[in-house]
Symmetry: C2
Subunit: 406 residues, 2 copies
């Protein structure tokens, strides 16, 4: 069941946000054609790479797309890419890009060729100056609110969360603008700035309002949750677990599973607190954690798992990527979302499909990324209607290239 | 210009992901009706709160929605909510929820009332057991890859990145399923698990493949970027900045702005490296950082800013939320995305609209969240066509409630 199987999207991109947008669309069944310059774009060799230098990062973010390799430095190559972007068809004329919207990719230039183009353009700062996830996160306030209690230094997250949010917003931009086009016939230029995505989100989540109204910058809290009881604990076998009790029900299951109930009335008196209240549990969290710590320290992860799961506690083990891969049923090849898939030039990888599931439909199998240029001839033939002779000439002239085996 | 102005979405939700999904749709012009039980749901009082206990978090995530308060513990209240969810209309019949898809909210029950319902249901784990952002992040491997070099402890991020990614995926689910319905007339149940979103993303970004193929868990790198040159530096006025040079062009601007060029040939020899290569710059990053450090340490943030901006270097200051609010043009009320908006019961807040911009259309102004139950009568009248007498009876019977001034 492929929700977007009629939709064709052309992607001109590099790095995380725009490729993730195309990936998300491809995983829902859209025909996503990523064009790259011959030899690959700026992200073609990004780390992590295999011993042979094949990028695992590129392979992850371009799954299920068609790849066409074009010499974008030459006018003939740019003309070809322009023809792809603006090719006719009811479900075509959608362009997703983080390349500068100027020169040959200026909206006005493209729109002159296809007035109803849906063009989603990802930029760094709102004024289109450069910004990346790391610089935007630094400015967002989040890095200063992350890390150990009392820390004076900002802490970057290993996850490029703003790239992710921006790429998913780009998909929303594509679908919302295309929805409007289906009703009105009108196309749309949509601009999404990485900085806007980050700062609007920090405002949506109340961090900015807390600074403005309460004159309080959320401090780093170690691994504690803010505003509710949530903390990490060590187990007897040197693992760590994150335990969360937001709702009253979650709190009660935690109390029951760990047997701390008898100590709570005294602890409530000590903190002048009422532990049926979320805010009071947060206020007394160090006291509560002191009661819980010995329970965790005297049990192995397996013992913790059995006891907490038996009571339906909200918790999870900390895992390395290897532990996630080896030990977690949620990414096992038997799960409906993950499978072991052969990737050209890499080998077998545990590979995800879309995280969206359609219970009444057969699942969509995960697939690999293409080799760069693997679909050059196919795309020229079926999107631009070029003949074998015309395609041959483009190859002879060096305007396009096919895939090179890795 | 409101891309989604004809679309009506009913939201039954709490916490971050589902409310963020509704917010995103509302900011693009959809009529999003959030129903809550009288007195508010589990997230109605979540921190941060004002001195009067009004949740800044709730106010942030429910902007631009209509709010109806219904006693959901009573059959009459559940029937009313069911009627809202399944109300007729071409652009209606869309339900976004993170409530359990069971009992009165079971897909089969709702679909019996409206067969073409688009129902996007957010769950924790794939088996629908409980999971929250913090427990999923712990399991994802990301917390173990975050923090100081050599750290043995996981570090949680202050940003609920998986909630954000899940909420945005829910919007994609709504728009993709509704797109299909517009073509085929068929509705759809879409399930999105927080854990699936997190683990598929960790796979998409190559973290999992690195563990599988390279038998290497990405270690915590402090504030360094992985695979390219990116590091934070202290300035002479005790500020910190994040500096990034991914592309060769970014590297060249950084070298030029900081005047380290003359030392590079010797540094390249020392590290047996070629600094025109991204991987070599990453490998020699400690040497490069040692060259750069004195340049930053002897300049104030303003001096750093002027010099780096003059050369177009990719960088950003670390900021607290207060500094973001007070010092950053990107969130100033003069920006097209942010404005100062009065929020009932709170006062004036710097408030964002959608991060999506439509350059050829007038901007969409930011708005506040409703008071809980503010639109109870409006929604009953215009969605369910109830008469004033019928609405009055529902109030008299305590099945619905209006807004209470905060």
């Amino acid at each position: 069941m492929e929700l977007l199987s009629a939709l064709r999207v052309v992607e001109g991109s590099a790095f995380v946000a725009a490729p993730l947008g195309g990936l998300t669309l491809a995983q829902l069944g859209a025909d996503v054609i990523r064009f790259d310059t011959i030899g690959g774009g700026l992200d073609y060799k990004r780390w992590p790479v295999t011993d042979d230098g094949v990028s695992l990062y590129w392979a992850g973010l371009n799954k299920g797309k068609r790849s066409i390799a074009i010499d974008l430095a030459r006018p003939e190559g740019r003309e070809l890419a322009t023809e792809l972007i603006t090719a006719p068809g009811d479900n075509a004329g959608v362009f997703l890009s983080n390349f500068p919207e100027s020169g040959w990719l200026a909206d006005a230039r493209l729109r002159a060729r296809r007035p109803d183009l849906v063009y989603v353009n990802i930029v760094g700062n709102p004024d289109e100056s450069t910004a990346v996830d790391y610089t935007v996160n630094a400015a967002s306030g989040i890095a200063n609110a992350t890390g150990p209690v009392g820390s004076l230094f900002p802490v970057n997250n290993a996850l490029p969360a703003w790239d992710i949010a921006t790429g998913l917003n780009a998909v929303i931009g594509v679908l919302a603008a295309e929805r409007k086009r289906n009703t009105t016939g009108e196309g749309q230029l949509v601009k999404i700035s990485l900085a806007d995505v980050a700062f609007t989100m920090v405002a949506n989540l109340g961090f900015l309002a807390q600074a403005e109204v309460q004159h309080e910058n959320r401090p780093p809290l170690g691994n504690d949750m803010y505003g509710a009881f949530g903390r990490d604990f060590a187990t007897s076998d040197s693992r760590r677990v994150m335990v969360v009790a937001i709702s009253l029900n979650q709190w009660r299951t935690l109390v029951k599973a760990t047997g701390i109930e008898e100590h709570l009335p005294a602890m409530e008196r000590a903190f002048d607190a009422d532990f049926t209240k979320e805010a009071d549990r947060y206020g007394a969290r160090d006291g509560i954690a002191a009661l819980l710590k010995p329970w965790f320290e005297t049990r192995t992860l397996d013992e913790v798992r059995r006891a907490l799961d038996a009571h339906g506690v909200c918790w999870g083990p900390y895992q390395t990527f290897t532990q996630l891969l080896d030990d977690d049923w949620r990414v096992a090849p038997t799960s409906p979302v993950f499978g072991d898939v052969d990737h050209p030039g890499i080998g077998t990888l545990r590979t995800p499909a879309s995280p969206m599931k359609f219970p009444t439909e057969p699942p969509i199998a995960p697939v690999s990324a293409p080799l760069l240029g693997m679909h050059t001839d196919d795309v020229l033939a079926d999107v631009l209607d070029l003949s074998p002779a015309e395609i041959g000439k483009l190859h002879d002239d060096g305007v396009v290239a096919s895939a090179v085996e890795l």
